[in-house]
C-alpha cells in the first residue's frame, strides 16, 4: 500500500466542504482507492450523501449513552465502499463541541483498525475554527495536509486567508486551494491569484451547477447519481490531483489590504 493520505478540507461555513469532500471520497473510491470520510461537524452531515441520505449514529451519540464504543457501531460503509464516520456533538449551546471532537477522535483512533487500512482519509471539519478542539485532527497528528475551499467572493476568501494564517501557526502545510464557484465575476482569476500569492496552487475550479443540489436533495453524491455529468468529471480530476499531489507549502497569509485589492 502506498503512503496513506490524510487530509482535511477547511473553508468558510456553507462554502460546500461536505459536498466536495463526499464527491472526492466517492471519486477516489471509483478509482479503486480505499477511502474513509470523517465528519467532524456537530451537525454530522458530512457523509449523508454517501449513505443514500441516511444519518448514521455518531461517536458522541454512543459516548453520551456511556456505551462501550466498537468500530462496527460507528464506522459505516457507504457508496462504493467508502467508510463513513461522524463525530457528532452536544446539543447546540450546551457543553463543549471542541472537547467532543478531541474525545471522539481519540476514541476512533483507539477502536478503529480500518483507519490504518485506508489509502485516503478525509476529515471534513467545521467551517469556523472557534477553539482548539476544532483543530484536534491536526494537533493530534491525524491530518498531514490541508486543502482550503473558497469561492471568489470576498468573505469566503477572507476566511480562507485566515485559515491559511492559522495553518502556518500550527505548522500544517497547505496542499492546495479549491474553488467552489458561486459564479461571481472574474472568479477563477481571483482565486488563482490568491492561491499563487499565498504560495500555493489552485487545484480545481468547480463550477456552480444545479445538478449538485439536485443530487444532494435526493441524498446522493454526484458521483453516484450523475456519474456522466460534466461536474462528475471535475470531481474525478480533483480526486486524481489530490491522490497524486506530493507537494505542499507553509502558506503566507495576505494582509487585509492586499486581499481586498485582489477581489476588486
Amino acid at each position: 500500500m502506498s503512503v496513506q493520505k490524510r487530509i482535511a478540507i477547511y473553508g468558510k461555513g456553507g462554502i460546500g466542504k461536505s459536498s466536495t469532500a463526499s464527491n472526492v471520497a466517492a471519486a477516489c473510491a471509483d478509482e479503486g482507492y480505499t477511502v474513509m470520510i470523517i465528519g467532524c461537524d456537530p451537525k454530522s452531515d458530512s457523509s449523508i450523501t454517501l449513505l443514500g441520505g441516511k444519518r448514521i449514529p455518531t461517536i458522541l451519540d454512543l459516548l453520551r449513552e456511556e456505551k462501550d464504543v466498537k468500530e462496527e457501531d460507528v464506522v459505516f460503509t457507504g457508496y462504493n465502499g467508502v467508510k463513513c464516520v461522524e463525530v457528532g456533538g452536544p446539543e447546540p449551546g450546551i457543553g463543549c463541541a471542541g472537547r467532543g471532537i478531541i474525545v471522539a477522535i481519540q476514541t476512533l483512533k483507539k477502536i478503529s483498525k480500518t483507519l490504518n487500512e485506508m489509502d485516503l482519509i478525509i476529515y471534513d471539519v467545521p467551517g469556523d475554527i472557534v477553539c482548539g478542539g476544532f483543530v484536534a485532527p491536526i494537533r493530534k497528528g491525524l491530518v498531514k495536509e490541508a486543502y482550503v475551499l473558497t469561492s471568489g467572493e470576498y468573505m469566503p476568501l477572507y476566511a480562507a486567508n485566515n485559515i491559511c494564517r492559522g495553518l502556518a501557526k500550527i505548522n500544517t502545510p497547505l496542499s492546495g486551494i479549491i474553488c467552489n464557484s458561486r459564479s461571481v465575476s472574474r472568479e477563477k482569476e481571483i482565486v488563482t491569484k490568491f492561491a499563487s500569492e499565498i504560495g500555493s496552487d489552485l487545484m480545481a475550479f468547480i463550477p456552480k451547477e444545479q445538478i449538485v443540489q439536485d443530487c444532494e436533495r435526493d441524498g446522493f453524491s454526484v458521483m453516484e447519481k450523475a456519474p456522466d455529468s460534466s461536474i462528475a468529471q471535475v470531481y474525478r480530476d480533483l480526486a486524481k490531483a489530490i491522490m497524486q499531489r506530493d507537494t505542499s507549502v507553509m502558506p503566507v497569509a495576505l494582509d487585509d489590504e492586499r486581499l481586498r485589492e485582489l477581489t476588486r
Partner: protein
C-alpha cells in the same frame, strides 16, 4: 510594585475563596459544579469545618454534553441527604469554560431553601473575585444586607492591596520558606523580657487562623508573667465580636472568651477578624499615639499588613502561616520571621485556641531559663 506581573507560584484560587466565603455565610452544603478533584484539599478541609462539600463529578462526558442534569440531580440529592437550610453552588474551570449556566438548574431543582450561586473559575488574577461573586449572590438572595456587602467589598479591595504590596502577589515568584528557627527566636524573646524591654504583642489574624495565632499571644503573656514582666507587655488583637459575617463573629467571641479565661488582657481591640487588611492602620495610629517608645513587637497573623512607619525602630518578630511570606517580611525589615506550617487545617472545626508550634517552643524554652 508592578500590578501586571504574572505570578507563577501556586496560590489559592477564586473557587477556594468562594468556598470559604460560603462557609462564613454558614451554608450547610457547598456544591462544586465540576470534576470531583477540583479544589480537593480545601474542600476536604472545609468538611472538617462542619460544612458538607460535594461535587457534580463532571467527567469527560460532562465536559462534552454539559452538566445541567448532573447539577439538578446533586441538588436534589443533597437536599434529601443533609436537609440543608442554606446551599451554595460554585463553578469550576471546567464548567465555566464550557459555558455552564448554573441558574437554570438551580431553578429547576426548586429547593425550598435559598441557594447562593457563585459563577467563578480559578483563572482570575485576584482570588478575592470568588469572595465578591459569592457575596453578591448572597446579597441577591437576602443572606446579607447591602451595608455588610459594601463593608466586605472594601475589605477585599484592601486585602488585595496588602497582598500586592508585601504579600504573595507582590512578585512573580516567591520561594516557600520555613522561616527562622523557633527555638532561637523564643530565646531572644525571653532575653528581651529579662532585660526589661517593653514589647507589643499584636495579633492581626485572618478569621479562623486567629485560633492558633492567639496562642502566641497567650504564650508570651504566660512567659512574661513567669518572669515578672507582665506589665511590660501590651496586647493588641483584632477580635471585635460585633464585626463580620456570622461565623467570623463567632470565632472572635470564642477567641476572646479563651483569652479572658487564660487571664490575657487585650489592651487594644483593633478590629474584626476580617479586618486584617485595615487593622494595620489602627495599629499604626495607636503606636504613634501611645507606644512609640516600645522596644520590640511580636506580630502574628498578617504581619505584612502593619505599616512600618512607627515600628521600624523596634525589634520585629513576625509569625505568619504563609511560607511565601518570609522573604517579603524580611525585606520589610522584620528581623525574625517564623512560619506556623500547616496552621490552617488545625484551625478548622475548632471553637477554642489551639496550641501553636512557636507558643509551645516558647513555653519549653522558658522552663529551661527560669
Amino acid at each position: 510594585m508592578d500590578k501586571n506581573i504574572t505570578i507563577i507560584h501556586p496560590r489559592p484560587s477564586s473557587i477556594v475563596a468562594a468556598l470559604y466565603t460560603l462557609r462564613d455565610l454558614n451554608v450547610d452544603v457547598a456544591v462544586l459544579h465540576g470534576p470531583p478533584g477540583c479544589s480537593f484539599k480545601h474542600a476536604r478541609l472545609l468538611e472538617e469545618d462542619g460544612i458538607h462539600v460535594v461535587t457534580t463529578a463532571l467527567d469527560e462526558n460532562g465536559f462534552v454534553f454539559g452538566g445541567h442534569d448532573a447539577l439538578v440531580n446533586v441538588l436534589h440529592k443533597v437536599n434529601e441527604m443533609f436537609k440543608p437550610k442554606l446551599v451554595g453552588v460554585v463553578g469550576t474551570c471546567a464548567s465555566m469554560i464550557i459555558g455552564e449556566e448554573m441558574h437554570e438548574p438551580v431553578m429547576e431543582a426548586d429547593l425550598d431553601v435559598p441557594v447562593i450561586e457563585v459563577e467563578v473559575h480559578a483563572g482570575y488574577r485576584n482570588n478575592t473575585k470568588g469572595v465578591i461573586v459569592a457575596l453578591e449572590s448572597a446579597l441577591n438572595v437576602g443572606i446579607i444586607d447591602k451595608t455588610e456587602f459594601e463593608r466586605q467589598r472594601f475589605l477585599l479591595e484592601e486585602a488585595t492591596n496588602v497582598e500586592l504590596r508585601h504579600g504573595a502577589a507582590s512578585r512573580e515568584y516567591l520561594a516557600p520558606s520555613r522561616g527562622d528557627v523557633k527555638y532561637k527566636v523564643a530565646q531572644r524573646i525571653i532575653e528581651l523580657l529579662k532585660e526589661g524591654k517593653r514589647g507589643l504583642v499584636i495579633m492581626n489574624a485572618k478569621k479562623e487562623t486567629g485560633y492558633m495565632f492567639a496562642d502566641i499571644t497567650v504564650a508570651i503573656n504566660e512567659v512574661a508573667e513567669q518572669l515578672g514582666k507582665a506589665d511590660n507587655i501590651v496586647n493588641m488583637a483584632n477580635i471585635d465580636e460585633k464585626l463580620g459575617l456570622p461565623r467570623v463573629r463567632h470565632h472572635a467571641e470564642c477567641i476572646a472568651n479563651d483569652l479572658k479565661e487564660k487571664g490575657v488582657v487585650i489592651h487594644e481591640n483593633i478590629g474584626g477578624l476580617d479586618e486584617y487588611p485595615i487593622a494595620g492602620n489602627t495599629v499604626d495610629q495607636l503606636i504613634k499615639d501611645k507606644y512609640i517608645d516600645f522596644d520590640f513587637a511580636v506580630i502574628s497573623g498578617v504581619p505584612h499588613a502593619i505599616p512600618m512607619d512607627h515600628i521600624s525602630n523596634m525589634e520585629l518578630i513576625s509569625v505568619t502561616n504563609g511560607p511565601r511570606q518570609v522573604l517579603p517580611l524580611k525585606e520589610m525589615g522584620h528581623e525574625h520571621v517564623l512560619v506556623e506550617i500547616d496552621l490552617h487545617p488545625k484551625t478548622l472545626g475548632v471553637n477554642h485556641i489551639v496550641e501553636s508550634e512557636f507558643g509551645a517552643t516558647l513555653r519549653e524554652v522558658a522552663k529551661e531559663s527560669l
